[in-house]
Symmetry: C2
Subunit: 395 residues, 2 copies
């Protein structure tokens, strides 16, 4: 079930020891622990213990708070099977390490989160589509069912049930990545697929980056009982544990009275941003591309019309030179990319910035397509771009 | 030179984009960035930008401060080749990923830091002694020349020169881990081996855990120009970047006027702890073990006399039950362990705790050896343990 390298994974006494050093009365000669009184008196509100080494799994208080939230989602995740991550990107690396050898069949959505693909590819994954017949042979299925990255799609209840069933039937480990679930702008079924995996092997992970602050680099995972222990060993081997200060700050935030109100405020704010973006996008891109309005998450996924289709990776540098950054959609495809795709985040830019950026981007694509056309069809008289015949793959 | 998996490592546009999003006037549709005004107003003293996503290499200000320190040590490490790590454990994982395939000859000290061995072993390293003839075939040499973990030894100038020369001659990459350098209690040559590697390939890493606070999980590395770019890609793939809040706190601490005074205060404090520990150790262990007084760092390395030699891993659980934790020395050996070794941290416990802990530990070892003896030599009359004949390997 696990990757070959897991054979070399042995429990280290470091973990056993980190887990007892906070015990009252314990004398520790074990770790390389600074003397507590020599820790910086950096802030009166921070307990010195927060600045000391801590347990690999994370702070018990934060694990318990996350466990509470997961239970409400129907996920079987007691605090003992919740681990705090240094951002959910770390969870992807840990899970890939645990499962992927060169050639391991790994099921993913086409397209899907590019930095997950990057990590899976690095360990040698062979990608198969999660909705294809090949998925039955996959050892691991990585999915973002709720407001997928990059497409923004939200899987239906039937799709979630079917995915869980396929994983259970084929003995495929479900790896559900759910960073956007709280950013919902219209009702849809958001119950995790992991909540439907009774008896199977699964990892579910989430992030505090979207609801609290990315700069603290904090996320979490929960896993079925067969997978949790090796994941903790892997976590210990990559950074011992996550920042205790970040954990403290996030714990206080998500257990505060105002947390749910903050989540509602956040969703309302981003819903308004999305609506403004939609309007701006329609103004600048309606003749250039098609898209679906996302019901949650942070992204629009654009497919340029054939007439304007370029490999958008070739446009990025010039876009940055014009002070607008976007994510080329081609990067999100595991194998052969579909050209002419772009992922546009709508949460960061305000209305004026969105207008400025989308205008610049649309101009760039028009000009690139014109110059591509003029190279390939020299001296064709100009006409309105929307009425030009398709020139697929023009650079 | 690199591991096979590095063939699958491709630059991601995420990095290029993370590095420009802070540029004034830039409109970013690229990342999944929260709107800056929706970031928590967690503290009036923290710029909102600190809570946003940041560059994989780390905060420019902190990289520059580290670069300044490294230049004073003679290391060729401009800010562009300094990377901030989520603790130096992370550097070990990144470097192992970069170089180690199953069977890759990896030179280390015998014994050496157990969590480095764990990571190297996990990727399939074959260990050779850094001071043996086999070291010539090693792809990577991992060393802690200054106050080594676990032995506390400090390499001489001649040893440092020779190590650099061997790496340069054999084309071995030097990986120097230097977390303890500021905890020096007697004069010794501490100039990094990396400062002697002109023209070669090297990685040098350090930690803020010993001089500032482990709980923030922050360290750094610098590397030769051939190695830095792939290390940044690997860093991005494991956690995007380290906590910006931690980086800000550490930057402010290490650039403050009082920093050098703090380092001196720290060394004085730990020197006194070491002296107290030495005295207490002599009281409880002089008939049980031998050791060298460490001239820096955080550890005593004990070799139990043959009479009392047990596999100290078998003693750990009982020691913890008696409220004293230590690190079994056997864990620090890459291949066959030397039995009867222990690593004892002297920085964390105060005088009373050291006395209580060392007394309990000495009693445990005496009782364990007695019971082992009474099993193997039933009804031998008791005599003073120090005069018993050797019973190697008794459990």
């Amino acid at each position: 079930m696990f990757s070959n390298r897991i054979d070399g994974l042995r429990p280290s006494p470091i973990r056993a020891i980190l887990s007892v050093i906070d015990r009252p009365g314990m004398v520790s000669f074990a770790g390389g622990l600074p003397a507590t009184q020599m820790l910086p008196r950096w802030s009166g509100t921070i307990a010195p213990q927060t600045l000391q080494y801590g347990p690999s799994e994370g702070e018990p208080s934060l694990r318990a708070a996350v466990s509470d939230q997961l239970r409400r989602l129907g996920i079987d995740a007691p605090p003992e099977r919740v681990m705090i991550l240094s951002g959910s990107q770390q969870g992807i690396d840990l899970v890939a390490k645990l499962f992927i050898d060169p050639g391991t069949p790994t099921a993913v959505q086409f397209p899907t989160y590019l930095a997950a693909l990057q990590v899976f590819r690095f360990y040698g994954a062979r990608f198969v589509g999660v909705h294809t017949a090949d998925a039955g042979e996959a050892r691991l299925a990585y999915v973002v069912p709720t407001f997928a990255n990059p497409t923004g799609a939200c899987a239906t209840s039937a799709e979630r049930d079917a995915l869980a069933r396929r994983c259970l039937d084929a003995g495929t480990v479900l790896f559900e990545d759910d960073p956007y679930r709280d950013l919902a702008y219209e009702p849809c079924d958001r119950q995790p697929v992991a909540a439907r995996m009774g008896g199977g092997s699964w990892i579910y992970q989430g992030s505090f980056s979207k609801t609290f602050a990315p700069g603290l680099r904090l996320g979490f995972l929960a896993a079925s009982a067969d997978l949790f222990p090796p994941l903790v060993l892997l976590k210990q081997s990559v950074d011992l544990h996550s920042s205790r200060l970040s954990q403290l700050i996030v714990h206080d935030a998500i257990t505060a009275d105002g947390w749910n109100a903050r989540l509602e405020e956040l969703a309302a704010f981003y819903r308004a941003r999305r609506d403004t973006f939609e309007e701006t996008l329609s103004r600048h891109f309606s003749d250039l591309a098609r898209w679906r309005t996302p019901s949650g998450g942070l992204f629009y996924w654009l497919q340029l019309h054939d007439t304007y289709s370029v490999d958008t990776r070739t446009v990025l540098d010039e876009a940055i030179a014009r002070d607008v950054a976007f994510m080329p959609g081609e990067e999100f495809y595991p194998n052969e990319p579909r050209l002419g795709t772009m992922r546009l985040n709508f949460s960061h830019a305000d209305a004026a910035q969105a207008d400025q950026g989308l205008r610049a981007l649309a101009e760039l694509i028009r000009s690139r397509t014109r110059s591509g056309r003029s190279r390939s069809r020299a001296r064709t008289s100009s006409c309105t771009p929307a009425r030009m015949p398709a020139s697929p793959g023009s650079s």
